[in-house]
């Protein structure tokens, strides 16, 4: 095992992490920027080699390149101490020592179980977008999207642009809430232009509110979905279903490090500092509020982690507050309707790793009891999927995180065990 040393380590190369890395590196710090995805950009700017990116993404990627920050494709699998990360660099596990960690781990989708959701062809909403950006061919494919919040717009638009037949887009929130949100949010000219463009691209699709998937059907793959629109059920034959119940901050690494949470997000102060000294957090892992807020928070976190004494934080205090307010509006507007929980029948799969069905769980149990008696959340994904669902369905705390966060291939561990005492390198 090699040891590396950097002044600042940024985990996550999405809008928040890119901005944190560029800012800290341009202040003269040696910065290591880690992301498990093959290319930098995070969720919104996920791309294939040679794909075109929006100008603000290109600008940020250029800034990172020019700043001297080192980007590596790697997964942080453990944090033995707040100043030490164990990192899997594509099959080789190294220890990285650092005085400052910036967590920019983004969000995951809240994926709630419903009958038939394990069928191939059923993905998340952002999940389908991610597969599309990875090269999935959807031309002529019949697609239903069922989710909540602004993410439905760009996903419907990119599917339509790629030639898919997006048959229906279902928003679970009631129309009244969305309309109120829209008139406020769309006062921001950028958001307005985007929303109009996306909606125009997906103009053929039927857009519904108060609507969700009741069940998915098929044999070896998805064949049809039954949807509920304003309480009336309808069946639609389709090839792909993107279904999710919004986004939730991704906090497993923060929890492993012992950072305090506020609700489901990492708790941070005005300088993006977490409850643990030497650890900062920025972007959607501190609350879902979009990519513009992520870039801004990344800049604050990167500057504070590089030791600017809070100057950047006070310069951006107002804009930062606006981002947080926007996040609150999102959460209020797109709060989950109870029907998303009650549609969950006993035979629906809850824990997809350990094959535990909803019917095996007594909602009166604690999370610990459920784990002991059914192995729910004990599988390879560590409850990333069902832990979030259990919080939504039963109000349970997120499951305890055990290292390694993502099981590195056995070969990497073998090398690590035989190599433990090799000298420090940087």
């Amino acid at each position: 095992m090699r040891r590396r040393r950097h002044d600042v380590v940024v985990v996550g190369a999405g809008p928040a992490g890119l901005s944190a890395a560029a800012t800290a590196a341009s202040m003269g710090r040696s910065v290591l920027l880690l992301d498990q995805a093959p290319r930098p950009g995070g969720q919104i700017w996920r791309h294939r080699a040679g794909a075109s990116l929006p100008a603000r993404a290109r600008h940020l990627l250029d800034r990172v390149r020019e700043s001297g920050a080192v980007h590596a494709v790697a997964t942080v699998v453990d944090a033995p101490a707040p100043d030490t990360l164990m990192v899997d660099f594509g099959g080789r596990v190294d220890l990285v020592h650092t005085a400052a960690v910036v967590l920019a781990t983004g969000a995951v989708e809240r994926l709630l179980p419903f009958p038939g959701w394990t069928l191939p062809g059923v993905t998340g909403v952002g999940g389908l977008q991610a597969l599309l950006k990875g090269g999935l061919q959807v031309r002529g494919r019949r697609i239903v999207l069922a989710g909540t919040g602004p993410l439905l717009y760009p996903v419907a638009a990119s599917l339509a642009t790629a030639g898919a037949r997006v048959l229906a887009v279902l928003e679970q929130a009631p129309f009244s809430a969305v309309a109120k949100f829209g008139t406020r949010a769309l006062r921001d000219p950028h958001r307005f232009v985007d929303a109009v463009r996306w909606r125009a691209t997906a103009w053929r699709s039927a857009w519904h509110h108060d609507a969700w998937v009741v069940r998915a059907e098929g044999g070896e793959r998805l064949e049809a979905v039954t949807i509920s629109v304003g309480g009336r059920e309808r069946r639609i034959a389709c090839d792909w279903l993107g279904a999710a119940a919004g986004l939730v901050p991704r906090t497993e690494l923060a929890r492993l490090l012992g950072c305090a949470l506020e609700g489901e997000a990492i708790a941070v102060d005005a300088t993006q500092a977490t409850s643990i000294p030497g650890i900062w957090a920025a972007g959607e892992c501190t609350g879902v509020k979009g990519d513009a807020a992520a870039v801004l928070e990344g800049e604050i976190a990167g500057a504070t982690a590089a030791g600017d004494g809070g100057g950047m934080a006070s310069r951006h205090a107002v804009a930062r507050g606006q981002g947080i307010a926007f996040g609150r509006q999102l959460a209020d507007t797109f709060a989950l309707q109870p029907a998303l929980r009650t549609r969950v029948t006993p035979e629906a799969m809850l824990c997809r790793c350990e094959d535990v069905r909803v019917g095996a769980i007594d909602p009166a149990w604690t999370a610990r009891q459920a784990k002991l008696w059914t192995r729910v959340g004990m599988g390879v994904c560590q409850g990333t999927v069902c832990g979030v669902a259990c919080t939504a369905l039963y109000g349970w705390e997120p499951p305890q995180v055990r290292p390694p966060l993502a099981a590195p291939p056995l070969a990497a561990w073998a090398r690590w065990l035989t190599d433990v005492d090799s000298p420090t390198e940087s």
């Binding site: 989708e109 191939p120 993905t123």
Partner: protein, 82 residues
């Protein structure tokens, strides 16, 4: 990125566009059962971003590789998890 590469699916060579993720490549080939659950049911990519592990299979001899996190390369050997 242009051109195709050859990947070997359970030993069978298949041409796929270069630069796509293995998850997308397999879906495009209609290989949708990435793994089987305890009841024998097919499982396929869900999250697309490396967190759900539903897309895991054996790649170049490494079991448990997440297909959504890697791009195809020439000569890639893929064993569908049974």
């Amino acid at each position: 990125m242009s051109g195709d590469v050859t990947i070997h699916l359970d030993g069978v060579p298949r041409r796929v566009p270069a630069g796509v993720t293995l998850a997308a490549a397999l879906c495009n080939l209609e290989h949708l059962a990435f793994r089987r659950d305890l009841g024998g049911g097919p499982r396929a990519p869900l999250c697309g971003m490396g967190t759900c592990f539903e897309c895991r299979l054996s790649v170049d001899g490494v079991a448990g590789t997440r297909a959504c996190l890697i791009e195809v390369h020439e000569g890639m050997r893929v064993e569908l998890t049974r």
